[in-house]
Amino acid sequence: MFRSAIVGAILALVPAAIPAAVAGQQAAAPKPTARTSVAPPDFQGYWQGSGYATVDEAYDLENGMPENERIITGRSAATTRTKRADVVVIDTPDRKIPYQPWALALRDQLAKAAYAPTKLEDIDSLTRCFQMGVPRQSFLGGFQVVQMPGYVFIAHGNGGARTISLDGRPHLDSKIKLWAGDSVGHWEGNTLVVDVTNINEHGWYDVAGNFHSDNLHLVERWTVVDANTLRYEVLNDDPKVFTKPWILKNEYKRNTEEGYEQWENSCFEGERGVQLMLNAAKRANPQ
């Protein structure tokens, strides 16, 4: 109860805090990120994906974007880095997610259905205007970081938000499951280490059916490399689904575009794609 009140109060303060943070960022050149023993690095502001994961990996972590998808969306093949040997998004020897056999079979089934959906459950959460959940929301679209005493707040441009508590509090009761989970973090030098639990099972990793259970436990490492570079690594541990913990990597650059703002993206305002997909299925299999 007390915690809810605190979180509510912080959230209520965010709109007031954002303009000040933005104004500060725009008024001065990027600040050096050197820190003292008492001050964590300041990485407030807007960030965009720039390295490791591209829109291809956001679409399908293992295989990138299919060719027909690329053609329809007007995306040049030259912009994909999925096949590049030096790009490590999934840190396993074969760059594949280490699924248990039953889970791999289910993933393949989900992937097949995702490309030709016949029911709502075949379609990923973002398309259906739910949240992406963690860690997917860290792989698609930009985000804004706001730092406050005791908290780091991340607002994602594609929807979804994170409140990361820095006071070492215990996690929520394990029966509570949330899209963004329950995040408790601490600083280790220039790295914000975040322990995330209480994640629901509805958010996939991508469009292509890569999934986890509600037993997923994340350990995120947000490293402030320099004033304009943020590195992200997340350890994914889900003994129900994976044979071993594995790491996903991404990197962001600060968005230095003058006057940039993150705008509302109210997905449910006019979503029509889901119905078009299901209509296509009905037309293909009229029964």
Binding site: A78, Y115, I123, L140, N265, G273
Partner: protein
């Protein structure tokens, strides 16, 4: 060789620009890559709504019958960041839209580009980054 260089450069520029990426769903489940369409007609409605905008265009068929097509665009935020404004496409404009028809067979398409009466060609696709090198070349 020159083409390869240009493509490579585009890839490199993209890698270092901090544009918002907005791809998110299986467009190929919704639209048919084997049914590219070029639609010439009159704009009847413009919807700048999330998560995707829509242009509605009256298109005359070969039999003279008029069909109102719905053209999906990227989201309004992306359109605005690419320079699109409310008055950019107006009702009554004669336009040429390129895209891919919906798999359900309805007069619905995912828009790749729209060419305005003044010859300006605007990129409509949903998965692009909005980066200049991804814009279609002007005719």
């Amino acid at each position: 060789m020159r083409r390869t260089t240009v493509v490579l450069l585009a890839g490199l520029v993209l890698a270092f620009t901090g544009r918002t990426i907005s791809a998110h769903h299986a467009f190929a489940a919704e639209f048919d890559v084997n049914k590219p369409v070029t639609l010439r007609g009159t704009v009847t409605k413009v919807e700048l709504i999330n998560p995707h905008g829509w242009l509605h265009v009256d298109v005359a068929g070969s039999d003279g019958k008029m069909t109102n097509w719905a053209i999906e665009t990227t989201g309004p935020n992306q359109l605005l960041r690419r320079g699109w404004r409310k008055e950019t496409v107006q009702i009554g404009f004669e336009v040429v839209v390129q895209g891919f028809q919906a798999r359900d067979g309805s007069p619905t398409a995912n828009g790749t580009s729209v060419t305005l009466p003044n010859g300006q060609k605007l990129f409509l696709s949903s998965a692009g980054t909005g980066a200049p090198e991804e814009q279609p070349k002007k005719n």
